[in-house]
């Protein structure tokens, strides 16, 4: 509980500084049979360090693809993606793995926990390959899952699994936390607690959080909001004041 309490005490509104994500004219298309589908059509975007960014858009707008390319688990066709000074689009497969290993934390919509590892082990699995991991128990305490550390994912609710997923992403103390529809599979109350957790991570560690969602209400907690439609950013806005997650309604 110590870290959680510490988070509450040190909660501050972070001020955007220099851009940690700098994307220029990013394009990506998929070929399915004879059909070529353009998913991203020249994306330009910047997200400052320690910001919370939200990418809003309907299904098929390309937001997950954009997120995957930023995270180095997919590649763009052209354009440039620079994250924390690293030109992601120019990295070899091996260097890309290193990039993910050092800089990126992922939170997925369906949690993607390893089913036959316990809660603690699912976090250790990432702590093991990190250079400066946080203490597993402390992270579990922060996400209020310490008492369930010996349980397997199938013994947890969806919200609990997502908490573990966040703990797993946070334990490596990444610069950038990428969350793909983190509340997409959760009910309202659980979703709010998860968003609260993400906000705490941002405030406590200064971690940049980039979230993909179709839920427009979540935009209120972000510093920077991007609206994506058919592979293009159609609107970009900056919130001067952000709303605490527990006050978000939808």
């Amino acid at each position: 509980m110590m870290i959680a309490q510490q988070w509450e005490k040190t909660a501050v509104t972070p001020r955007p500084t220099q851009a940690i994500i700098d994307i220029t004219d990013l394009r990506k298309s998929y070929r399915v049979g004879e059909v070529q589908t353009a998913v991203l059509q020249g994306i330009d975007m910047q997200v400052g360090a320690a910001e919370i960014g939200v990418i809003l858009g309907p299904s098929g707008s390309g937001k997950t693809t954009l997120m995957n390319i930023i995270g180095g688990i997919d590649r763009g066709d052209s354009g440039s993606v620079i994250v924390d000074g690293v030109e992601v689009h120019q990295l070899s497969d091996e260097r890309l793995t290193d990039y993910r290993r050092r800089h990126i934390g992922f939170v997925f919509q369906f949690y993607n926990l390893v089913p036959n590892l316990t809660v603690a082990e699912n976090i250790e699995v990432v702590a093991n390959i990190s250079q400066t991991p946080l203490n597993v128990d402390e992270v579990l305490t922060a996400v209020a899952m310490l008492d369930k550390k010996h349980r397997f994912p199938r013994e947890l609710s969806g919200g609990e699994q997502q908490r573990v997923s966040i703990a797993r992403a946070v334990v490596k103390n990444p610069k950038l936390l990428l969350c793909d529809e983190p509340t997409g599979a959760l009910d309202f109350e659980t979703s709010r607690s998860i968003l609260h957790l993400l906000q705490q991570v941002n405030q406590t560690y200064g971690t940049t959080v980039l979230m993909v969602t179709h839920n427009t209400a979540i935009a209120a907690m972000a510093h920077h909001v991007f609206r994506l439609r058919s592979g293009e950013i159609v609107e970009e806005s900056v919130n001067q004041t952000t709303v605490p997650a527990e006050r978000i309604e939808w």
Binding site: I73, D93, E94, T97, R100, R101, R102, F106, N112, V125
Partner: protein, 746 residues
């Protein structure tokens, strides 16, 4: 490490499948190590025995004394005048006695002391069977000897009375050695010579040169037996060769099976875990780390199975060798563990399993993490076969079952190959038994209408005893197959002792040159064609015109009129070497070279059939277990792959019985196909074994598989299948309905 803990859990969750693979590796390594160690030790022991005790390269009989020293000098060889005599003991046994040679075919004392003028050495099997101990007395040809101990002779390792009897009965037949003076005092001994060349290369050529010299010296050779054709020695080499071959083939097949199995298991696992792999990859795990993680599975299976298999194989080798030495007694200097075999037994499964797994995993890791997390690499698309098949006209059940098989060709291939191997093992012994049975009943018993065959030492010309029919014979070799010789038998044209028929079933009599079908096939000759042969003893060349082909499973023979054969051999028309009849005759000592009793031959073959029985049961048991493992694993895999479907069927109201039928019955066709394909593979491999038996034993066994045995084999395979189904039924029953509902949410 967290990921490593997952390995044990995964192994535990899929224990049946991994245990199956583990057992296959274990059996494979065990058989490889065990059989190879036995073969290698047997080979070493045989090599040392041949070398230390100067095994002759040939033994022969001539009509006059040889100038031994001259020949020894000329051919750089050791030649020893030896001899043999069969003595009937008072208790009814036959003891074949040899003199105590000093240069060639030296006896090796196994137990006891050296010979003196009042003692005799006997073979250990005869001693054991007749409860004779060193120090006991034995009366031989009226003289009382003390048993000095037991010994073995390098040219009599397989102690059998004649090659036709095949199986020795040490209770009634044995060999013994006497001091030369004692041996010479026996009346009626047959003189023979044994030669061993000092230069151990090109023995066959040296032998031919030696024989040509004898011919040039006008020495009449009445018997020539090359050691390479001496079944009492070659049976040992045959066993070594068979063991060496089997030690590669059987473990090899099992290893292939386990490699395929592990490959499939890993493929299934990583495909099922595509999202996990993708997640780990996305979280920053390197390809090499993921590879290392997934390679732990084959590594654990192969090391555990390999180590245990090597230990068990090494453990079983010594008793197995002891058993072999009880059949082929030889002096043993020591037992050697060949570390190369141990290393191969351990590392080959490791290498193959890891290599197969590496390719499976590396293939998956070619995909981007994002694709892996979406699970796009899993084979959700229809394969070529499934797309090509037009199944519309079939019922739902049939369509479903066909799709189950074609959906995973590797799984179906594994089942098919596994059933072929199980069939092979299952029917191997049965075919051997069936073939021996066929040779006895359809071959020897069908060809000969007689009870006794007597072969004289010298050619005879007086009329044979009443009721007996005379014959002459010569052993020849054809250039078409220089490795094995066969007999040309001259019989009376109106012979009633031979029952020959042509391939259409019409009766044939030896009034013309008749070749048995087996020999005609081997030498590729047809009716009307000429055949060149060379006499084994006189090295003369002859040309025969084949006039008929006989359908006989008795072996490889040419029959022709007695007078024509004598004419060909430049012998008097009425000359003969043996007689056939139904009564037991008594001859003065030294007149008869050999006596064959059809009853004894039949007993020998029956004995062999009985002995193969043990092997048949062992192989049947092994194939049953193997089949059970394979079918159980494959049905288990099908169930695992269809968990959601099974669950959905339950939700839709299918009865467990109906689901069982749909899921498990799809293997039946593959099972039948595997069994049917296994039979030709089996016949080919047994024929190869029979061929090596022919080469080593100078005995021909036709390959036959009795219809009843085939049916029996099929029943065993079906039984295995039913048991595997029964074991898997519970697994289906355990799948909850919620599985389908959960799957639908993602």
């Amino acid at each position: 490490m967290a990921l490593q803990r997952r390995i044990i859990r995964t192994l535990r969750e899929n224990k049946a499948q991994y245990l199956g693979a583990f057992f296959m590796v274990l059996i494979s390594s065990m058989l490889f190590v065990g059989m190879n160690l036995v073969a290698a030790n047997l080979s070493t022991i045989f090599g040392a025995f041949s070398e230390n005790n100067q095994l002759a390269d040939a033994e022969f009989a001539v009509d006059s004394d040889l100038a031994i020293s001259d020949l020894e000098a000329q051919f750089n060889a050791h030649i020893e005048k030896s001899g043999v005599i069969d003595v009937e003991l008072e208790s009814g046994q036959t003891l074949r006695i040899f003199p105590d040679n000093e240069k060639v075919n030296l006896p090796a004392i196994i137990d006891g002391r050296n010979l003196d003028e009042n003692s005799i050495l006997i073979d250990p099997l005869f001693a054991t069977a007749n409860n004779l101990q060193p120090g006991d007395s034995l009366t031989v040809a009226g003289k009382l000897y003390s048993i000095a101990g037991t010994m073995v002779l390098p040219d009599y390792i397989y102690i059998v009375r004649s090659k036709e009897e095949m199986i020795n009965d040490p209770a009634i037949f044995g060999i013994a050695v006497l001091r030369r003076a004692n041996f010479d005092s026996l009346s009626g001994t047959a003189v023979s010579y044994a030669v061993r060349f000092t230069d151990r290369a090109d023995i066959h050529q040296q032998e031919m040169a030696f024989r040509n010299q004898l011919l040039a010296d006008r020495v009449d050779v009445s018997r020539w037996e090359s050691t390479e054709n001496n079944s009492k020695v070659t049976y040992v080499t045959l066993e070594i060769n068979t063991l060496t071959t089997m030690s590669k083939v059987v473990p090899g097949m099992l290893l292939i099976l386990s490699v395929i199995l592990i490959g499939i298991l890993l493929k299934r696992m990583v495909e099922r875990e595509t999202a996990v792999v993708g997640t780990l990859y996305a979280l920053g795990y390197r390809k090499t780390e993921l590879l290392r993680h997934y390679l732990m599975f084959p590594l654990i299976i192969a090391s555990a199975g390999g180590i245990l298999g090597v230990l068990l194989g090494a453990g079983m080798a010594k008793p197995l060798l002891g058993f072999m030495l009880s059949v082929f007694p030889m002096p043993v200097a020591g037992y050697h563990y060949n570390y190369v075999f141990l290393a191969i037994g351990l590392f080959i499964p490791l290498l193959f399993l890891c290599l197969a797994s590496y390719f499976v995993i590396a293939r998956l890791l070619r995909f981007a993490p994002a694709d892996l997390m979406k699970g796009t690499s899993a084979p959700t698309n229809l394969n070529f076969l499934e797309r090509t098949l037009k199944l519309d006209r079939f019922s739902f059940n049939t369509k479903f079952q066909i799709r189950e098989q074609v959906r995973s060709l590797s799984r179906t291939g594994f089942l098919l190959f596994g059933i072929i191997v199980a069939t092979l093992l299952l029917l191997y012994g049965l075919t051997l038994q069936s073939s021996l049975d066929y040779m006895l009943n359809e071959g020897i018993a069908a060809l000969y209408n007689l009870k006794f065959e007597y072969v004289f030492r010298e050619l005879q010309s007086t009329p044979p005893p009443a009721g007996f029919e005379q014959f002459n014979a010569i052993y020849v070799t054809s250039p078409a197959d220089a490795n094995s010789s066969f007999a040309i038998v001259g019989a009376l044209p109106e012979s009633s002792r031979l029952r020959l028929k042509d391939t259409s079933g019409n009766k044939l009599i030896p009034d013309r040159v008749i070749i048995t079908e087996m020999l005609a096939d081997k030498l590729h000759v047809q009716t009307g064609e000429q055949l060149q042969v060379t006499g084994d003893e006189n090295l003369q060349h002859y040309t025969l015109t084949i006039e008929a082909i006989a359908d006989s499973a008795a072996g490889e023979f040419i029959f022709m009129p007695l007078e024509d054969l004598n004419d060909m051999l430049v012998l008097p028309a009425n000359a003969y070497i043996g007689i056939w009849g139904d009564e037991r005759l008594e001859f003065p000592e030294g007149v008869i070279q050999s006596t064959k009793s059809m009853e004894a031959i039949a007993a020998g073959i029956n004995n062999l059939i009985r002995q193969t029985g043990v092997m048949v049961y062992a192989l049947t048991g092994m194939s049953f277990i193997l089949g059970l493992i394979i079918i159980f694993l494959v049905t288990g895999m099908i169930i695992d792959e269809n968990r959601t479907t099974i669950s959905l069927f339950k939700v839709l109201g299918y009865q467990p019985k109906e689901i069982n039928r749909l899921i498990l019955d799809s293997n039946t066709l593959v099972l039948v196909l595997g069994y049917l394909l296994g039979i030709p593979v089996l016949l080919v491999s047994v024929s190869a074994l029979m061929q090596s038996l022919t080469d080593s034993m100078q005995m021909t066994i036709p390959t036959r598989l009795n219809g009843w045995y085939m049916l029996l084999g099929f029943v065993v395979v079906l039984l295995t299948y039913q048991i595997a189904r029964m074991l898997n039924r519970k697994k289906i029953n355990r799948i909850p309905m919620s599985e389908a509902l959960k799957a639908g949410t993602e």
